[in-house]
């Protein structure tokens, strides 16, 4: 048995769901296949921070573009998505970090993103539970938080409403040359297959430059108002650890429920999902340094997840050079929730031969094929 589609999307995490919706809304006959739950991978494990990041111009372009798409969508998001435009506070603990605040502020201004610089007192007023004194912070009011599994669920439902079809629970055994073979023996034929399997992408397509990067999170019981913004440290400036070492950073988020989500950690080379007591301890210690009273909150759950990390920290969006039918939408590491909408938009623009709103070149998978050829 075989069904014909314009596009088959493999994976119904937030990126796959966004791609399916984008395809369906552009009139493409779209199928989407998911072997686990909707938004059950990194989407379920992540924080749900819609944030503009400036590691590189390309990262900033994609996160900013995506954020504007979320803002356009925000009025239509159902309540269970818990979209909350709480803004991000980039917290500076000393004067050296305040210089980063100023640098960031200037950079964001050039991109047309409004920010506000908070001094020590303003920061204390904005977030009374932060330790005192801290030097200040950069407020990015346009950043937001949401609940990712329900966001993925919403995007998928919209895609289905526009005529897309969901195959679930169905595992894709192989996807190449315009054919996706499913575990029930059926086969989907498609002009294009969009590969959106996140951290598991390399299982279906060996050779993809994607590694799993494990993260830990802890969530508390409900303490409305304990923090008001997504709080992120700028403290990485002083600790020049290598990108490959295990690391933790202060990153705390208020949920609409009043719960406080505590992150974050990064580890390579750990496949198991078990909570690592040392990492958890370091992560919480870091959070307690910034929020001395957070230790007295009740933690109700901890969990881990795996990000799909690429060597240059940019996602893989666009055609896979070794198979004309195959397009990638993976490798978003910690930014998949933010960049899902932008990814879907430029992917489908490119797929239809239309002009993308931001240049797609920095994210094209062919960049890795090239570098291998020159190595």
């Amino acid at each position: 048995m075989s069904d014909r589609w314009d596009v088959v999307v493999v994976g119904a995490g937030i990126v796959g769901a966004a791609c399916a919706l984008e395809c369906a809304s552009r009139g493409l006959r779209t199928a989407i296949v998911e072997g686990r739950g909707i938004g059950g991978g990194a989407t379920a494990a992540g924080m749900g921070h819609i944030v503009v990041m400036d590691d590189s111009p390309a990262q900033m372009a994609l996160t900013h573009y995506s954020q504007t798409l979320w803002q356009e969508l925000s009025d239509r998001l159902p309540r269970d998505v818990e979209y909350e435009p709480c803004g991000t506070l980039w917290v500076a603990s000393d004067e050296e970090e305040m210089q980063e605040v100023h640098r960031k502020s200037a950079l964001y201004a050039t991109a047309g993103i409004a920010t506000a610089i908070l001094d020590s007192q303003m920061l204390a007023d904005a977030e009374p539970h932060l330790r005192k004194p801290l030097a200040g912070a950069l407020l990015v009011p346009s950043d937001a938080v949401l609940y990712p599994p329900c966001a993925a669920g919403y995007l998928l439902r919209e895609a289905l409403r526009l005529g897309a079809r969901l195959y679930a629970p169905r595992t894709v055994l192989s996807a190449q040359a315009g054919k996706a073979r499913l575990d029930d023996g059926s086969e989907l034929q498609a002009a294009r297959i969009v590969h959106a399997c996140g951290a598991d992408a390399a299982e279906l397509l060996p050779g993809l430059p994607i590694r799993k990067r494990k993260g830990h999170l802890v969530i508390t019981d409900r303490y409305p108002g304990f923090v008001r913004h997504q709080l992120v440290e700028l403290g990485y400036l002083k600790s020049a650890h290598s990108l490959t070492a295990d690391s933790v950073a202060f990153n705390v988020q208020p949920r609409r429920t009043g719960q406080v989500l505590i992150g974050s950690s990064r580890q390579y080379n750990t496949e198991g999902p078990a909570v690592d007591a040392q990492i958890l301890s370091s992560m919480i210690e870091r959070a307690q340094w910034y929020l001395p009273e957070i230790g007295a909150l009740s933690a109700i759950r901890a969990w881990t997840g795996f990000r799909a990390a690429t060597p240059d920290k940019l996602p893989l969006i666009g055609p896979w050079p070794e198979d004309d039918s195959l397009f990638l939408a993976t490798g978003h590491e910690g930014l998949g929730i933010t960049t899902s909408l932008g990814t879907a938009r430029i992917l489908v623009d490119h797929l239809l031969g239309e002009q993308t709103k931001i240049p797609i070149e920095p994210y094209l998978p062919s960049r890795f094929a090239r570098s291998e050829a020159h190595a």
Binding site: Y236, S247, Q288, L297, G334
Partner: protein, 440 residues
Amino acid sequence: MSEHFDILVVGAGPAGIAAAVSAAAAGKRVGLADDNPAPGGQIWRSGTFQPAAARRWLARLNAAPLVRLQGWRIFDSPQRGTLRAERNSDCRDLCYEQLILATGARERFLPFPGWTLPNVMGAGGLDAMVRGGLPIAGKRVVVAGTGPLLLAVAAHLARRGAKVVAVCEQAPLRRIVPLTAALLGEPAKLLQGIAYGVAARGARFFTGCWPIAVNGREKLESVTLQRNRKHWDVGCDYLACGFHLVPNLELPALLGCRIENGFVVADDLQRTSVADVFCAGEPTGIGGVELALLEGQVAGLAAAGRTAEAEKLARRRKRQGFVHALRTASVLDPQLGKLASDTTIVCRCEDVPFAALREHANWRDAKLHTRCGMGPCQGRICGTAAEFLFGWSAASVQSSIRPPVFPALVSSLGASAKETCQSDGLPSAGASTGSQKEIL
């Protein structure tokens, strides 16, 4: 802060007490950790009966040379050979050579319209509150659900002066009485007498009968009961309602003990699949007080190296017949899974109604998309219910257990385990703090 024990016992119900006393008698340094204010577990805590066995074992416990860690709740195992416990805001690491898990069982609740109204309680729950001082004299109580505990609870409440207006049990009374006797470690005749005593005070026993709705505005005013397709309302002040027991498997699962068919797998000497970890009592099979005491003693002796004595004692167990009879008697009628209406709350922590769950394929999907089981009870109540309502097999714990297995202070969860216990585990990962823009 940390403490070291040759043998650490978790749970001070009958199995845990027997294990700790036996191990201490063998000359080992023993710790007994329990999260209730007093030892006895669910079955002896309430004082439903103060049977001779309870008095005897509690006296032995008081006389035993062991460290009592009463009120300490175990929520994590930060490394091999270490459990982490919390009491109020204190946190301690408890280090052990051998561990005996006697974590007991809890009541199963099933949702039906109105079950979340005030004064609807678990059968054991109301029993414990009365024990704790809730005035019950003159109050009208309906005791409902299934399982041997109902009768015991009804008897206790009646003795405390409650007007037990109805006891509703789906299984025939003649099957429940001997089981209750065995579960509590009491002679059947005594219990029969108690049952008649309860009846003599005006209670009516119904079998094949259960509540289908609780009525009332601010709180419970009456219960609608159903039997043989007939419904009728019974006015009451309290509904004590429980649908048998489910084992507490969170800690065994966290430690990696093999679990099959809903129970911890243990051999004749109560050894689990994990080296140096024993399990005794209800987590290995709902079997009642006598069996729990026996298993506890076997585990205590075996953990202390008294293998021959442990083996000898283990031969005394006569378990299968009883456990089988209990399972047969307490199988839930499928109709009990159809009582909830669309708006009936299933997850009380997160206010998730029945209709929101029905559309999901499994427990994990339901959790992620509705928040069911994501609250402070960590799914202990709704997960157990969902397992029955929807047949979601991994609903309770095994597949996704992670610390904290009970809510704990963030600071307790994050306390470093570095120097607390000598461990043969892996060296610490040495996580560094902060890293180049690695924050999301």
